[in-house]
């Protein structure tokens, strides 16, 4: 081995030490950077290390678990948020369906007590109107919640497409940058960050085969970004007023809504098609049962003008929309004398037999499921509460799971300042030693050259 080679070794060592300190410094400076993967210095004998040859500390298995956990947590958070309005819609209080029904049923008893009293009749009509308004407002609240979920689905798909385009562009850049075999760590970090952001919205699977074999699929099937960086965007279509997600596959538009079963978009779809739809259907059924039965009994009674056959509420034509369309019938609206408290025109005005029959409907089990209106509403309220509660529990569970996986990922890819400081000291020592080698080699070279004198 020549003395010149010794100088070369010292030089490589110094460069290695310098590069190692740089890697540690980079890690330290990114200690709080979201999505940053710790770089590790991979030494190769006799070649040493240069900054560009550092590699990210990434465990693909953990990254896959993180994407799944991220999608799941975002799904439950979105579902929980979308269902929060149920608590307000079905809570007791002024203007609620429950309070309005209580007052309406109580005023039926007042009518039975004072069948000829126009003030009592006015009050009953007012309470009938309040029941109709409460049902309308509850239906509108549910429609609003569904509308909001649809809006978030549309917005979520836009955000996904925007990120898919960036992922495609980055994949192309990474493929080019890594032709020389050097890892494009920063670009990969950015792409991983974008993939995580996509997984917050829809379920995605990353497939990586070889250094340039990155592809992204929707829930493991439909391609979103191919290995060559080609992007297949999602689009939103309208179906029965709801946002549906489609994707062009082999030139044909495919409805992929059912595949979007997690992520925030999936959570909104789940809330929309699950509890919100169920609540709306049941509310409609309750409004339908309520109005048709009260109409039926009321039609059998006689008003103060001796006429029978009038409805209290506009008779619903179908269950769907019954709550939204519930209104006081024009037969009696503004005409309290036309409320039918009696059963016989000959026994007016204090005949309260029909008012008693109407009053008895408060406990009659005519609602769907063999329940009274009160029981049906209580059951609906409990169901709404359970939907919100379950979503909250699922959110807590999945958020906990995400935290666990995130902690696992952090343990693999995160930065520990003490470790980096130790690494920095180590490379600093190596740098100092290498400079010593150069110094010794220089001395030896000088002494060798001085032999001639």
């Amino acid at each position: 081995m020549s003395l010149l080679n010794l100088l070369n070794i010292g030089s490589i060592g110094a460069s290695t030490g310098q590069a190692g300190v740089t890697v540690a410094a980079t890690n330290l400076s990114n200690i709080a950077t979201e999505g940053y993967n710790r770089r590790s210095a991979a030494l190769r004998p006799e070649v040493g290390l240069s900054q560009s040859s550092s590699r990210r500390a990434v465990e693909p298995f953990v990254e896959r678990r993180l994407l799944i956990a991220q999608s799941s947590a975002s799904e439950t958070q979105a579902e929980s948020a979308a269902l929060q309005s149920l608590d307000t819609i079905f809570a007791d209080g002024d203007g609620s369906v429950g309070n309005a029904l209580d007052n309406f049923q109580a005023s039926m008893q007042e009518l039975a007590a004072r069948p000829g009293d126009l003030a009592v009749r006015e009050q009953l009509l007012g309470n009938a109107n309040n029941v109709a308004t409460a049902f309308q407002n509850a239906a509108a609240g549910l429609d609003q919640a569904r509308g909001d979920a649809n809006e978030r689905v549309r917005g979520g798909v836009d955000e996904v497409n925007q990120r898919l385009r960036q992922v495609g562009a980055l994949s192309t850049q990474i493929n080019k940058a890594e032709i020389g075999g050097v890892e494009a760590s920063e670009l990969r970090d950015r792409r991983d960050g974008l993939v995580r952001e996509i997984s917050e919205r829809i379920p995605v699977t990353v497939i990586e085969s070889g250094s340039n074999g990155f592809s992204l699929t929707l829930n493991g099937s439909q391609s979103l970004v191919s290995a060559d960086g080609k992007v297949s965007e999602l689009s939103v279509t309208e179906g029965n007023g709801d946002a549906r997600i489609t994707k062009i596959a082999a030139g044909v538009a495919v409805d992929v809504t059912s595949m979007v079963n997690s992520g925030s978009v999936g959570g909104n779809i789940k809330a929309r098609d699950g509890a919100l739809t169920e609540m709306r259907t049941k509310l409609d059924q309750l409004a339908f049962d309520f109005s048709t039965k009260y109409n039926e009994v009321h039609r059998g009674g006689v008003a103060l003008d001796g006429a029978a056959g009038r409805n209290v509420f506009v008779e619903p034509t179908a269950v769907a929309g019954a709550a939204r369309n519930l209104t006081v019938s024009a037969d009696v609206a503004g005409q309290p004398e036309k409320l039918a408290a009696a059963t016989d025109a000959a026994t007016l005005p204090a005949d309260n037999r029909n008012a008693l029959a109407l009053s008895n409907l408060s406990s009659a089990r005519f609602a769907t499921g063999g329940m009274s209106v009160t029981e049906a509403l209580a059951t609906l309220t409990a169901r709404a509460g359970m939907a919100v509660q379950s979503a909250g529990q699922a959110e807590a569970f999945s958020t906990g799971a995400l935290e666990q996986v995130s902690a696992l990922r952090e343990s693999v890819s995160g930065v520990n300042s003490d470790e980096e400081m130790v690494m920095m000291m180590r490379y600093q020592q190596a740098y100092s030693a290498s400079l010593q080698v150069i110094s010794v080699a220089d001395q030896m070279m000088g002494e060798l050259l001085n032999l001639r004198r």
């Binding site: 608590d87 209580d102 039975a112 007590a113 000829g116 009160t374 509460g385 359970m386 300042s417």
Partner: protein, 293 residues
């Protein structure tokens, strides 16, 4: 497992956030006194409270209805008590009229008094309480007895609902107390007595004492029925009152917080937050970074 700076801070952040949420929840419960404020807090309890609130609203309406019915029945009872006194007074006048010591003019004076009693009796038959003619049956907006003493009301008995399915009779048709329109009534008895006295008919005056006895018996029987009705309405009202009371208590039990446990929970939550904050202050800062500087 490696513990990185980020994961240590993330864990601390999580604990602090959770502790603050717990404190906020506990403060809300302790300050509002409500433990179930919305359906998701406890769906089963909230739904049960909804049923209890409905039960209470219906029971309260029933209590109001029975109070009105009691007012009507009490008014009717007072009217029948007065009517019974009036009959007793008429009987005294009939006995005086049947006395041989009275002359024609004196009997005419008695006849005038009996006519006044008859008018008074008609007024009692047309007693109005809280806007209703209490002896009119379902026709309670017009006087049930015309000036001739004819019953023009109807024979229906009103029912009051104290709670859906819990009803009680709450009116007495006038003819059951004052007699039928077919002539067998207290008004015609008084009429006939007055006529006999006007005609100075001593025997006739005596003969109507039996009629007044019959009218009195009918009146007393009617009062007895009225008394039963008042008992029935009172019982129904008590049931409605109990429903309302128990519904109120049950709803409170289901939704309201126990103050002692609410305050204890708040203290626990505050202790947990204090502990988390103390841990935050113990977080190592700098580590080797600091020691090198």
């Amino acid at each position: 497992m490696r513990i990185t700076d980020s994961s240590a801070y993330a864990a601390l952040n999580k604990r602090l956030s959770a502790a603050r949420v717990d404190v906020a929840d506990a403060m809300e419960r302790a300050s509002s006194g409500v433990k179930v404020a919305k359906p998701s807090d406890d769906p089963v309890a909230y739904a049960a409270a909804r049923r209890e609130n409905n039960k209470r609203a219906l029971a309260d309406a029933g209590v109001r209805a029975t109070e009105l019915a009691t007012t009507h029945l009490t008014g009717a009872d007072e009217a029948l008590a007065s009517a019974t006194d009036t009959i007793a007074h008429a009987k005294e006048l009939a006995l005086q009229g049947a006395s041989a010591s009275l002359g024609a003019d004196q009997r005419k004076d008695l006849a005038q008094q009996v006519r006044q009693l008859r008018d008074q009796m008609i007024s009692l038959g047309n007693t109005q309480v809280a806007g209703s003619f209490v002896f009119g049956g379902f026709k309670d907006e017009t006087p049930p007895f015309d000036p001739l003493g004819q019953f023009v009301g109807d024979s229906n008995v009103k029912e009051v609902s104290a709670y859906p399915g819990l009803k009680a009779s709450a009116s007495l048709p006038g003819e059951q107390a004052f007699g039928t329109s077919a002539g067998n009534n207290v008004f015609s008895t008084l009429d006939q007595l007055a006529t006999a006295l006007e005609n100075n008919d001593q025997a006739g005056a005596r003969s109507h004492i039996d009629g007044l006895d019959n009218d009195e018996k009918r009146m007393l029987a009617a009062r007895s029925r009225l008394g039963s009705m008042m008992n029935g309405v009172s019982t129904a009202q008590s049931v409605a009152d109990r429903y309302s009371y128990s519904a109120k208590n049950e709803a409170a039990r289901l939704t309201e917080a126990d103050q002692v446990s609410a305050v204890t929970d708040l203290l626990k939550a505050k202790s947990a937050l204090d502990a988390a904050l103390a841990v935050a202050q113990q977080m190592p800062t700098g580590g080797l970074l600091k020691s090198r500087s």
